[in-house]
């Protein structure tokens, strides 16, 4: 009988990412209801010392696959190792982050194991010990509640920034286990040959706590400077609407909405964004929404917690000055 919850952790620049702790926290809550254990899976090279932190958030065991060939993520090597471990230990549930890496890995892992996979979930519950997952469709215009059939394990990815972190408990001890696996180099066909980091080291939109976003009302690429000043002050990431991206004012990776990124920050400040349905779909789960727009009838005001009717070129710089006084 399949037992236990597995968390597939993720690293960037060697450090465990926040989503890994969110997953362990949620895994702990589910495992307590099932009376089962939480096992975190850690893949990499010389990474054992990272295992302890996973315990503080709720992992009982950490299985470490330590191998130079796992230092950087490749689909082939990671899927091969995790599939072998899962086939040997038969966990009931495997959770991963709905990050770029997690989405790449989970799809292939589920296909290899021949089981169901629920992508980008925002809530989990249990029914007779089976996983029930709630996930957005059409970028959040609706939500589907899904269950699994003939799936052991049941695999799901969790959206970053949604699941609450447990308070770290320093007294928790973990059981550290060396993974037993084999890796056939001829099976690893993809190779990472370069990693290009964006300058500035800003949080990605999908992980940002605060987003300052600009749309058609920005009138041109040069005007994003005022958003960047506000964003720098607040430690925020700058986003954009589809029309701003399609106009070539901002890179496509900044786009928020149905054909861009779906975001859930604490605070989303929409400047000169009218609130097209495909944009609202991508940011409506933000905890607080502020809209700054000179059109009082803009649909964005129907979704905003705080609306400011006015010219963003006056309001945004003034807001930056006012926030400077507070912080």
């Amino acid at each position: 009988m399949a037992q236990g919850i597995w968390i597939v952790t993720e690293r960037r620049e060697g450090e465990l990412r926040k989503i890994s702790f969110e997953l362990v926290s949620e895994g702990r809550r589910l495992a307590d209801k099932m009376g089962q254990s939480v096992t975190a899976i850690l893949l990499g090279s010389h990474i054992k010392q990272k295992a302890g932190m996973l315990g503080k958030y709720g992992a009982d065991k950490v299985i470490v696959a330590d191998d130079d060939r796992l230092a950087t993520y490749t689909t082939d090597a990671y899927v091969s190792v995790i599939a072998q471990l899962a086939q040997a230990s038969e966990p009931a549930i495997i959770l991963l982050g709905a990050s770029v890496q997690g989405k790449d890995l989970s799809g292939r892992l589920a296909a290899r194991l021949g089981v169901g996979m629920a992508q980008d979930c925002v809530a989990f519950s249990l029914e007779n010990g089976n996983l029930v997952a709630k996930r957005p469709i059409c970028a959040g215009k609706a939500y589907a509640t899904v269950t699994f059939q003939d799936s052991s394990p049941q695999i799901a990815t969790a959206r970053p920034n949604v699941f609450a972190l447990n308070d770290p408990d320093d007294s928790r001890e973990i059981d550290l286990i060396d993974a037993d696996f084999s890796l056939d180099d001829s099976q690893v066909k993809t190779k990472v040959i370069e990693s290009i980091q964006e300058a500035g080291g800003k949080a990605d939109l999908t992980e940002a706590e605060t987003i300052v976003s600009g749309g058609r009302g920005m009138k041109g690429p040069e005007n994003y400077k005022i958003l960047e000043e506000l964003a720098d002050l607040m430690g925020a990431t700058v986003g954009a609407s589809r029309s701003a991206v399609d106009a070539g004012w901002r890179p496509h990776s900044d786009q928020v909405g149905q054909t861009g990124k779906v975001v859930s920050p604490n605070l989303y400040i929409a400047c000169g964004i009218s609130g097209a349905i495909q944009h609202l779909a991508g940011m409506r789960t933000s905890k607080y929404i502020v809209a700054i727009n000179k059109d009082p009838d803009a649909p964005i005001f129907q979704k905003a917690d705080y609306g400011v009717v006015g010219d963003l070129f006056d309001i945004v710089p003034a807001l930056t000055e006012e926030i400077k006084k507070i912080i």
């Binding site: 169901g116 059939q149 604490n266 507070i326």
Partner: protein, 264 residues
């Protein structure tokens, strides 16, 4: 160089989603159906590779008859032929089921590169590409924004968008890649292209034609079952920040964010 593009037809992104009375599906009447936006990048990239290396571009889709319109759009852009698997038994397939149908079509084709949109903008699973690559036993590179195939056509270097940067991944052909916005600017079909598309082959296939058993696909073979579809929580309009001047409005907003919402 032969390229296969897997295409999905989805509701236009401007569509307001309505939930059907069964509570498990969406109302599909009066929906404007379009080629999945991410698949447009796949079609465009396939055409560019064909222009450089020669070969054929084949469009494959799974779905009802209406999907032929989207396939014709791809043919009008310049693809060579289309295959639609239209069979009532595929209704309700999950991603793995769809991948299985696509695999059954593709495994007998002569292909070097398979391109899929990174996800359908309706179900948002994003699993068909990796599932298909696994079933075919070929490498995958997902969420790509740049593709460079070596002159001899043996390997590909693809730029993959990740949080906070880009990874350059190399893989031997045949390979499956999923396409992301930013890869290219999809062309519009020209009038001669639209006329030509009507003469290009578009084959219809059933599950039986592919040697698949109906129980492996569709709702009966699905590993994921939809129990319920619900609307998002309504966000109520909050308050309009008052003030005589922009400065006053900004000050009131900053105070609200600080004192009420405790965000700064």
């Amino acid at each position: 160089m032969n390229i296969v593009v897997c295409l999905k037809q989805v509701p236009d992104t401007e569509t307001q989603i309505r939930i059907a009375p069964d509570g498990k599906s969406i109302v599909t009447d009066n929906i404007k159906w379009v080629m999945n936006p991410y698949d447009e990048y796949a079609v465009e990239e396939a055409l560019r590779l064909k222009e450089k290396f020669g070969g054929e571009v084949t469009i494959i889709a799974v779905g009802p008859k209406r999907v032929t319109e989207s396939i014709r759009t791809a043919l009008a852009m310049g693809a060579d032929r289309g295959i639609l698997v239209d069979d009532p038994s595929v209704a309700g397939s999950d991603s793995l089921g769809t991948a299985r149908v696509l695999e059954a079509v593709i495994k007998d084709l002569d292909y070097d590169i398979i391109l899929c949109g990174k996800q359908g903008v309706d179900d948002d699973y994003g699993l068909v590409g990796s599932g298909l690559a696994e079933l075919l036993g070929i490498p995958q590179i997902s969420v790509v924004i740049k593709i460079e195939v070596s002159e001899d056509g043996s390997t590909v270097k693809a730029h993959r968008e990740v949080e906070g940067g880009t990874l350059v991944i190399e893989a031997p052909l045949p390979v499956l890649m999923t396409t992301q916005k930013g890869l290219n600017e999809p062309r519009y079909a020209s009038l001669p292209g639209i006329m030509n598309a009507k003469k290009k082959p578009l084959d219809m296939k059933t599950i039986a034609d592919l040697g698949l058993d109906a129980s492996e696909v569709g709702e009966s073979g699905a590993k994921i079952k939809i129990m319920q579809i619900t609307p998002p929580e309504e966000r109520k309009a909050g308050k309009i920040v008052e003030g005589e001047t922009p400065q006053e409005k900004a000050a009131n907003l900053a105070r609200s964010l600080h004192e009420e919402a405790k965000l700064i």
